[in-house]
């Protein structure tokens, strides 16, 4: 069966009343999570995972992924109306979105953002549809050393391509890896690093860590700023919406360029946040005439939004095909997959075609549902931000703790949330990236197992990671991603310094 037939089969699964209802519910919950500061896509999805145990995996992933799209849309809403990015990936949208809204063109800004987000998402999904079969065939050739090489590549890409200092990314990664080894070791059956605490025997759940790091951590950052919401009018005029949609084809070049950037950053572990900044920067460089960026230029909204969403959707491909998520939210979803008893990776395509293609088909539908819903409900969700922080803040805190408790009904987890909330706040303020920590926690076991198996295969020689073309090229690519970007930066800096000295 070709990809197209499989996709049609997927639509058959996705278009049922139950699944359409889950999509609407997911998008709406995602919008709430995206709009509220302190609740973002990663910990929104974490909070929802314990509630999905009653659903079958296909319905569950449709609900979770719809929530992700909703959160991406919701993040842009607050960026434009309140100059507060609801999600880290929508920071770049504030640069031109808020100024345009201030000029009284909030409907235009929102429509531009949602439409280009929708187009970006569709571009991403088309790429997933085309590549899905190929990627899984490719991944079938993988043995333990290849898997370890891919994990190494993912970690290396974070260190080399991330915007944070490499040593800080490394700290974040290593912390995640160490946290993932706590508790009973699945390979040897030994209890590790519990230091006598019985509560740690079953390990530290990454869901609890995500809720602390992203939920409480972000909320603390919001509190220290003494946030006041100053919103602009959030009324939506249907005629303005239609006029803006007619205006869209003019930005075709920006859209395609940003879409490609997003797809690249989504498949490699750059992530949506990096994609939106990069796309904004390139759009600014590419523009020649017209009013300057930062004053409400349409391209300044189209570029980051398209890239953000195409990266967000493309992040699903490496997660499904290789079991290597390229964004924090995808990492959390992959953890969910493992909890439901599925093994992400090439075998998933062979053994669970209904799951994979149902998800891919649902991504088409739920993104279209998302664009319509978000336009229809903007005034309602904007009103959420008018609730005083003294009420909404503690409610978010309570929801985070309730969510952490439902993960495994353990009161010890409540303390963990508190501790990781403080860690998340410190890491946030000091520019330690959080996504590598989550990724390392989810991948830690798998990376260690792959390493263990490779070592057993080779009798302890590291040479196995360079023993055939496939594994050596992945390792070399990983090493290149680790070293090259920073070397180029350093080289550029030296060249600039030369003439001065």
């Amino acid at each position: 069966m070709g990809n197209f037939d499989l996709l049609m089969h997927g639509f058959g699964i996705a278009i049922t009343p139950m699944h359409l209802m889950l999509m609407v519910a997911g998008v709406l919950m995602g919008l709430i999570v995206g709009v509220l500061p302190g609740l973002g896509a990663p910990n929104g999805v974490s909070l929802l995972i314990p509630l999905t145990f009653a659903l079958d995996p296909t319905s569950a992933i449709i609900l979770l992924s719809s929530m992700y799209w909703g959160a991406l849309f919701g993040g842009s809403t607050t960026s434009i109306l309140f100059n507060i990015p609801g999600e880290p990936s929508s920071v770049a949208t504030t640069f031109d979105g808020y100024p345009m809204a201030q000029k009284g063109e909030s409907t235009r800004a929102l429509t531009l953002a949602f439409m280009s987000a929708g187009i970006g998402a569709l571009l991403g999904i088309i790429v997933i549809t085309l590549l899905a079969g190929w990627a899984s065939n490719f991944a079938l050739k993988f043995g333990a050393p290849e898997y370890f090489a891919v994990y190494f590549l993912a970690f290396a890409a974070f260190i080399g391509m991330g915007s944070a200092s490499p040593a800080k990314t490394l700290v974040s990664l290593a912390t995640g890896l160490i946290l993932s080894t706590v508790g009973m070791d699945t390979v040897t059956g030994e209890v590790r690093l519990t230091f006598g605490y019985d509560e740690l025997l079953s390990g530290i759940s990454f869901l609890v860590v995500v809720i602390g790091l992203f939920g409480i951590g972000e909320l603390l950052s919001t509190v220290q700023e003494g946030l006041r919401f100053r919103g602009v009018s959030s009324r939506i005029d249907l005629r303005d919406v239609l006029r803006t949609i007619r205006e869209l084809p003019r930005y075709w070049a920006t859209t395609i360029r940003s879409g490609l950037i997003g797809i690249w950053m989504g498949i490699t572990p750059g992530g949506p946040t990096a994609a939106s900044f990069m796309s904004y920067g390139i759009a600014r460089q590419a523009s020649r005439k017209g009013q300057p960026f930062g004053t409400g230029r349409p391209e300044g909204i189209v570029a980051p939004e398209t890239a953000d969403h195409s990266a967000g959707t493309c992040a699903m491909l490496p997660m499904l095909a290789l079991g290597v998520p390229s964004s924090a939210t995808a990492a959390v979803m992959m953890g969910g997959l493992m909890i439901w008893g599925l093994t992400p990776g090439p075998m998933l395509f062979a053994t669970k075609p209904d799951f994979v293609w149902g998800l891919i088909a649902s991504m088409y539908i739920s993104n279209i549902v998302g664009v319509i819903l978000v336009l229809a409900t903007v005034p309602m969700f904007a009103a959420l931000l008018r609730i005083p922080f003294a009420i909404i803040g503690p409610m978010i805190v309570a929801i985070c703790f309730v969510g952490a408790y439902t993960v495994s009904n353990s009161t010890f987890d409540l303390w963990l949330v508190l501790v990781f909330g403080l860690v998340g706040y410190m890491f946030n303020r000091l520019d330690y990236p959080l996504a590598p920590l989550v990724l390392a926690m989810v991948l830690g076991h798998k990376a260690e197992n792959a390493f263990h198996q490779s070592m057993v295969l080779s009798d302890g020689s590291l040479g196995i990671f360079f023993s055939n073309t496939l594994v050596s090229s992945i390792m070399v690519l990983g090493l290149a991603l680790l070293i090259l970007p920073k070397m180029l930066q350093l080289g550029g800096r030296l060249r600039r310094k030369m003439p001065v000295e």
Binding site: L51, V171, A174, L177, I178, V223, G393, L430
Partner: protein
């Protein structure tokens, strides 16, 4: 009381370094060599711990370098180092964290419903400036909706305390 970014960087680097040391010590007890069945269980955490210590030392060193540069710049009349937390932010964060800590303790003692209702009511009353009866109503309303969503719809029991037992809610 003001905390500079320099202090915060150092404290964090020491904290992450300490985690690395803990991992290395824990791993040494498990054995980090080679057995018949492959690497021993301490192998992986040991080396990751070493990497973590090295990266923390790097961060520590770069914090000192930046601090020295900033002090030099400041003596040359440039802007002084940005404060990490000033008095106002410490107060705001302290108040929020204190209430959150009280909420966790209350939850462990009285259950999540009473804890959350009390926490939200307190915050609305003291910080939001609402009247006490209204604040209590907001807190109770939140707990009731938690109960409906979790226990009634999704059948997930949350932590309960002595008061629910007295009222006969399970």
């Amino acid at each position: 009381m003001a905390v500079t970014r320099f202090h915060a960087e150092i404290a964090t680097a020491i904290g992450t370094g300490a985690l690395g040391i803990a991992a290395v010590i824990g791993a040494t007890e498990l054995g980090l060599g080679w057995s018949e069945s492959g690497p021993q269980p301490g192998y992986f955490p040991f080396y990751v711990g070493l990497i973590l210590i090295a990266a923390s030392l790097w961060n520590l060193a770069s914090a000192f370098v930046k601090h020295r540069q900033a002090t030099l710049d400041a003596s040359n009349g440039a802007e002084a180092e940005e404060p990490f937390l000033d008095r106002e932010k410490v107060q705001r964060l302290g108040g929020f964290l204190g209430a959150m800590l009280a909420f966790v303790v209350a939850t462990l003692w009285l259950g999540i419903y009473i804890g959350a209702a009390g926490y939200i009511a307190y915050s609305a009353w003291r910080k939001g400036g609402y009247k006490l009866p209204l604040s209590l109503a907001i807190g109770l309303g939140f707990s009731v909706s938690l109960y409906v969503i979790f226990e009634v719809i999704f059948k997930i029991p949350l932590l309960k305390g002595p008061i629910e037992n007295m009222l006969g809610i399970y």
